[in-house]
């Protein structure tokens, strides 16, 4: 179980897999995980953690901050997913050798580095921890699948509502959400790159969300008065996040109950 002081006990890796499979990690594995992080660094806004095609001998744990995975085409940037604290953002580089995309900081970030040699050792002598590492990299594909579906399906305001709902849930899992929403360094241009829309288009969609009382996004904060309404509007079903255990309790307020939704992978149609 993730306890409130998990992050005090493991200040570098305490959010890794929180709200997911962290409870499957033994005390020894948590201690080992924490020790894998050999060096920390504070990165500036816009810093590129790793570029497409670049070789690296280490992977990066996001301790604090927010990052985007981006692809570039001739005339624009595409953001294909985002990262919150506790994400081992380029662990997949260990097996892929080079990434097909970039990872960029949005706002300042604090990161910790894990040498690939240390991951080779984990593969050699701790198959259970290795399997959890593998698991954590597969979440990317699950998130991408949901985004493919949403891009195929939703209009810009609904797509943005879905993105807000996802950020909120993921921050909540690692104990960094607020009871009425979340703080974010995202700008409208980042959201445009996440939706394949123009900045003007997003500006209009954000105004629409505010006007209809679904979400108020301004000055680095998203405030939501009715979460169910936001999630319904964005057609958000959290199964794809693989939340399998209680999140780290929110430091701001008592934890909100989700009922069965966050514990079930099943979608509406497969519940019967």
């Amino acid at each position: 179980m993730s306890s409130p002081n998990e992050f005090e006990r493991f200040p570098l890796s305490g959010r890794f897999l929180a709200g997911r499979a962290r409870s499957e990690m033994s005390e020894a594995e948590r201690v080992r995980m924490e020790a894998l992080v050999t060096r920390t660094e504070v990165l500036e806004h816009g810093h590129r953690v790793i570029a497409r095609g670049q070789r690296s001998d280490h992977s990066t744990m996001l301790i604090e901050g927010f990052m985007l995975r981006t692809l570039e085409s001739e005339n624009r940037r595409h953001a294909v997913s985002f990262h919150v604290p506790g994400d081992f953002v380029d662990l997949h580089c260990f097996a892929l050798q080079r990434l097909d995309h970039n990872i960029d900081c949005v706002g300042p970030a604090r990161v910790g580095y894990v040498p690939h040699e240390a991951i080779v050792e984990v593969m050699r002598d701790d198959p259970k921890l290795a399997r959890l590492f593998w698991f954590s990299t597969l979440l990317d594909a699950a998130l991408h699948r949901e985004w493919i579906m949403k891009l195929e399906q939703l209009t810009a305001p609904r797509r943005i509502a879905h993105i807000f709902a996802e950020i909120w849930r993921r921050l909540e899992m690692v104990g960094m959400a607020r009871p009425d929403g979340f703080e974010t360094p995202l700008r409208q241009i980042d959201i445009a790159d996440m939706c394949g829309a123009t900045a003007i288009h997003v500006n209009r969609a954000v105004a629409e969300l505010r006007k209809s009382g679904i979400a108020d996004f301004r000055r680095g904060r998203v405030v939501v008065s009715d979460r169910d309404r936001l999630e319904e509007y964005g057609d958000f079903n959290p199964g794809y996040l693989y939340a399998g255990e209680p999140a780290i309790p929110d430091s701001h307020s008592p934890r909100r109950e989700h009922g069965d939704r966050s514990l079930s992978f099943k979608r509406k149609t497969s519940e019967s």
Binding site: R52, Q97, T137, A141, M149, G239, S270
Partner: protein, 247 residues
């Protein structure tokens, strides 16, 4: 073929970095072989799995179904270990459905546990294999954000052409698939009518002719250029091709 069941696994990519002993070990993981017809659900969203399936022949769709419609979020070709990720995820967030007849090799998860404890190099190669999915998904996100419907359809066929080529199934002129027009629509996030119009546009432009899922073209390079297709995200050819020091 020396390895009749797993000979296409990671072909054109990491396979070149595995030795004969590794390849024999992988072939030996297949516990049994199954054949299925069209439209069979091979793995179900939310249902725990105890085996993973390697596609030996045929095509498989990854689908997400909502109460409103079906979405196709990925396609699989021979050599793909279609639910290897089920081993680490324990249950899938989506469904796998055969598109036409398929032949599958089954690997019980206990065997994969043994791989993890005995053969970390092979485990890492398998890890690599599951990461290709995410790379392909990222490209699909980009094409959905960037390309119009005719180009999306051209991109799908360009990707299939390249992936089949990587696993040694060169496509000279006609790329044969069992896909319906509705399948194409569900892959591109458009209506069947819209997909039909996009197929018409590809024909008018002389890019390719799609008849009952089969695409005919005289010029794959022109089609790939039209679709803005860059194969590097498949880790076979181009900028991301694995280098010799992979181990």
């Amino acid at each position: 073929m020396t390895f009749p069941l797993t000979g296409a696994f990671l072909a054109g990519r990491l396979r070149d970095h595995l030795d004969h002993d590794d390849l024999a070990y992988i072939e030996d993981l297949i516990d049994s072989v199954e054949e299925h017809g069209d439209g069979v659900r091979l793995a179900e969203s939310g249902v725990p799995t105890e085996k993973s399936q390697l596609l030996i022949e045929g095509f498989v769709f990854r689908t997400i179904e909502t109460d409103k419609r079906r979405f196709i979020v990925g396609i699989h070709v021979p050599g793909d270990f279609i639910d290897l990720h089920g081993f680490a995820l324990k249950e899938l967030d989506h469904t796998l459905v055969s598109a036409g007849a398929v032949k599958l090799g089954l690997v019980p998860h206990e065997r994969l546990e043994t791989v993890m404890s005995e053969r970390p190099d092979i485990a890492r190669a398998m890890w690599f294999a599951t990461l290709l999915d995410a790379a392909i998904h990222r490209k699909w996100i980009q094409t959905l954000e960037q390309l119009d419907a005719p180009r999306r359809i051209a991109h799908l066929y360009a990707e299939l052409h390249e992936r089949l080529d990587l696993v040694g199934r060169q496509v000279p002129r006609a790329l044969r698939t069992p896909f319906t027009q509705l399948d194409l629509a569900d892959m591109c996030g458009v209506s069947a009518i819209h997909a039909n119009r996009a197929v018409g546009k590809l024909r008018e432009l002389g890019i390719g002719e799609i008849r009952r899922g089969d695409l005919y073209t005289d010029d794959w390079d022109a089609l790939k250029q039209y679709a803005r297709f860059d194969p590097s995200y498949l880790y076979g050819r181009g900028a991301l091709k694995l280098q010799d020091d992979w181990r």
